[in-house]
Symmetry: C2
Subunit: 577 residues, 2 copies
């Protein structure tokens, strides 16, 4: 029987709730966003007791469906003030599903800044003192959690950034090796977790049945087999990502002239080749890391890796394109080892790599750090763990840094740092940045798939034609996928293969004994966006917030393109939704 | 002939413009808000070249009308993101009017962070290098400006806070003694001035005719005589303010249980008597300062003063109730001399005293400074002038400090620190805080006049009855008064004396040869609010922003009152406007 668990952090109590009608049939992002819309006062301060942190596995999480182990983490964002769903891998989601937990709602707030660790298992819910973990980074914290609770547990934790409630703070999730390499990075949900006094969650599913209840096991098995087959046979999920990780995009996006360089001044980085997936793989092979890993069991894409330093010692993993871009091309740091150190620091201190990289670039814009100075950037990020006000400034993100230094060239939408695709040379993603209920975000409607990778058709990223529909359709599709617990990197195959969506529908139907059709999945995506947009409207967001910063009117080399969507055109993205 | 002067700070050029139709007949706040609505893109970054800084004397400024020397300073606020009018005294307004300048529009932005001083006189407009002033406080800057340009000039300048573009930065105006004691404090307009590269404006009106053109000199003279008479015969403007300054309110508001103490935890401060106007006057008399002064010639109220330290040396002037509250009761600092030092530092560094005091209280809330620790607060404010990141944090105001320290108990509306009246024990002012287009502000609709001082009738500040209408009517009336250049402290007499408004109308008619009636003045106030609210809507503000922080649901001693207006009630304030 699946239930919702409420953790009350005011008095360290908990409560199990059977399914509420308003939350029926929902999972993942659909469930987290619905709970937020129903239970969080839209105008509350994100760090107050009234906000809630939601953890929700997807509808297919815990099953044998390939790549279904993602978790939706939600709340009112301390960074943007909007609703937020941040999606992560790791082991927690799968283990929660195995324990029959559809969602955890973390609510209330301790009176003082005390921290707890919560352990979930078949025996129940335990609130444990967190003194031995507080102040420590996520690497240390997770090593200690494994020492205390066993190597098999699923873990999520915050680092010093989340403890300090900084708006760029992430929640890190342990991967299959127990390293905090997976992140619910965007939107400062680590600060929300910190404000709840929750240092870490440990999930131990031992003793649960080997399979989740299944309405039609044979049908599920057939669909799941086809699903895995689809994924491994697509060139992106079957070849590019397993071979080079997401960093395969560095050369591709640079070639497209859409790799934002030096705080969005140019679309190509002269040092791109040194940051590329190809270069990373070459170094990993020389140094003895690992070029492919999955963030959770059942992943057939294996886009992660283990990256060693020059001496062959473990440095980081989950070394993503977005992180390499933000900490690299954006700041013009061109040494991959410095970037790997920064990535490791972000995972350890509990900082979103994108927000931190963008913020470092704004510090360079303001003259505080020299462009491209890797060691200075590393020193700056280390301050987040110390009692250093520069660390507080950096850890609050790009817009906050801009305000400290009086910089107006700040690449944010709704206060969130923009990711790794210049909206002038990839116009569809600009629409997603502008209009996503999440603030400046790429995953919410990843038009790059079609514009640059040619999945699901081909559009010209430099032209406006077709982009409004593309962003709209992908935002709907993504909202639906994020309900299932399926990894977004399956989308390439879904876009190119007409059998893929029916296959997902079959798995959901077989799991729950439903009769959904493909249209229902589209409707689900729309409904999620409706919930999210309603929350945002109630929180005071209007079309005036769906705008890119003014400086995107400047021409971007090499294509000399500008951001030329009118306000009226931008406002068409959500037409009919 | 009166004209509008445009200063282009991109290339240090200027342009005179005859009256534009859209700006016809407007002065002061009505003119500054209209220009902003017409010329500033609502979603622009406040520190970008697209924003504009407006200076506008009022319709009666420069005449012999008592207390008509105020100036409206406007722009898109770097603190709140809303439209902003900040109203100040001093000599600049009067001298601009004498030069026939209806408004100055400061636009553009220098490429590097260069600063200029602009000097206006009958000979024209001069852009001068500012190297000798940059980095210096307002006291030094104004002393040097007087040394360079003569003791008779009007001056406005920014200190280090404005140069650094910090969101709590003020613009200071020289008083009759050449001290920077008058401020356009609220909303961070000093940061806007800093972003324009304008360190100071010097106005020399020598050579202009002794009188402004007057359509009906005799009628004006009669009305002006009656006006001055009205003011000096009202107990507030004729007795209380000249005797004790605005600090007369400390005991009064404390007795009413509405003096916010220790970050709005209680409504009475045990140290109130030590901060009172009565105590201040006693010390001034002992130490040889001056108990009454006007901020501009023609002021018959004389609410300012010169406050000396214990050794009899000049310390500060324009030592206001709001400043003493923010730096005192709010922080629980109870030594008036520490508060005077803080006030002096704010004027010198160019910081809004209210925002700085509220922000210091939030630092105390976050445990960075001990409650009531005056010397620690003084040290902290001094950091604003240095290359110290704590100074950058403090100088960006209350909400910014809250975010640095992860504090959710932050008394702001639309990002602006709330002033010196607790909205639970003075419910009308809570409506003004919530709904004013300016963000959390008291002057925009000073219900205290009626609720606590009994001017214009008497309402019970603890009860909701009548408060919506009171806030609405006073916001309209204030918007109208702010068009005239008349000091808001005349409002007590205006509220109590039915002859006062016709008298103002007569002066305007006599000056310009118009046939306005009292109704037209009300309509003018409404129109100003319409302009301001339209700008805010276009900038993305909605009723969801017209809310007080959640913690005002807590009971406030001694009356054990809560903030109990519903959202729907709050949204009635601007009904029909």
């Amino acid at each position: 029987m699946s239930r919702i668990l409420r953790l009350n952090m005011t008095d360290n109590s908990f409560d199990w709730e059977a399914e509420l009608a308003a939350y029926a049939g929902l999972g993942g992002r659909g469930l987290s966003s619905r709970i937020i819309r129903h239970e969080v006062p839209p105008t509350c301060h994100p760090l107050s007791a009234a906000n809630k942190l939601i953890l929700a596995p997807g509808l297919l999480t815990g099953t044998a469906a390939a790549n279904s182990g993602r978790i939706s983490v939600g709340g009112k964002s301390p960074l943007t003030g909007t609703i937020k769903e941040s999606n992560a891998g790791g082991l927690v989601s799968r283990k929660l599903a195995r324990l029959g937990i559809r969602a955890i709602i973390v609510e209330g707030q301790p009176a003082a800044r005390n921290f707890s660790v919560v352990r979930l298992s078949q025996e129940g819910v335990e609130f444990l003192p967190a003194a031995e973990y507080v102040g420590r980074g996520n690497y240390d914290t997770m090593a200690q959690l494994r020492a205390n609770f066993g190597e098999h547990v699923g873990m999520m934790s915050i680092g010093p950034a989340g403890e300090k409630r900084l708006a760029a703070a992430s929640i890190q999730f342990g991967d299959q090796q127990g390293r905090p390499s997976r992140a619910a990075g965007r939107g400062g949900l680590g600060a929300l977790m910190g404000s709840k006094g929750l240092k870490a969650l440990v999930v131990d599913e031992r003793g649960t049945p080997p399979q989740l209840p299944m309405a039609d096991p044979e049908k599920f098995k057939a669909a799941a087999r086809q699903w895995a087959h689809l994924l491994v046979n697509h060139p992106v999920s079957g070849q590019a990502l397993p071979t080079y990780g997401t960093a395969v995009l560095i050369n591709i996006v640079n070639d497209a002239g859409a790799l934002p360089t030096q705080n969005f001044r140019r679309g190509q980085f002269e040092g791109a080749v040194d940051l590329s997936g190809e270069k990373m793989v070459e170094l990993i092979k020389q140094r003895g890391g690992k070029t492919k890993e999955g963030c959770h069991p059942g992943c057939v894409i294996q886009c992660s890796q283990t990256y060693h330093d020059a001496s062959g010692k473990y440095l980081t993993s989950g070394f993503e394109y977005e992180s390499i871009w933000a900490l690299g091309a954006h700041t013009t740091i061109r040494e991959l080892d410095y970037i790997a150190q920064l990535d490791r620091l972000c995972d350890d201190l509990g900082l979103d790599t994108i927000e931190t990289g963008v913020a470092l670039g704004v510090m360079m814009e303001g003259g505080l750090i020299a462009w491209g100075d890797g060691p200075a950037a590393i020193d700056m990020v280390k301050k987040v763990a110390r009692d250093d006000p520069w660390g507080l400034i950096l850890g609050n993100g790009s817009a906050y840094v801009g305000q400290a230094l009086g910089v107006s060239r700040v690449p944010v939408v709704k206060g969130q740092g923009l990711p790794a695709y210049d909206p002038r040379a990839e116009k569809g993603i600009g629409l997603t940045y502008a209009t996503s209920p999440m603030g400046g975000d790429h995953t919410a409607g990843y038009t790059v798939a079609t514009n640059i990778l040619g999945c699901g058709g081909k559009t010209d990223p430099l032209q406006k034609a077709g982009q409004i529909e593309l962003s709209r359709n992908l935002q709907v599709a993504t909202a639906a996928i994020d309900c299932t617990g399926i990894c977004l990197f399956t989308a390439f195959a879904v876009l190119d293969n007409p059998d893929a969506l029916p296959c997902i529908v079959d798995m959901i139907n077989a799991r729950y004994g439903l009769g959904l059709r493909a249209d229902d999945i589209v409707a689900l995506g729309q409904q999620v966006l409706q919930d999210e947009r309603q929350f945002n409207r109630d929180a005071g967001f209007t079309p005036a917030h769906d705008r890119l910063p003014e400086f995107f009117k400047e021409k971007l080399a090499p294509h000399n393109v500008t951001w030329d969507f009118t306000d009226a055109e931008i406002d068409q993205v959500f037409k009919g939704i």
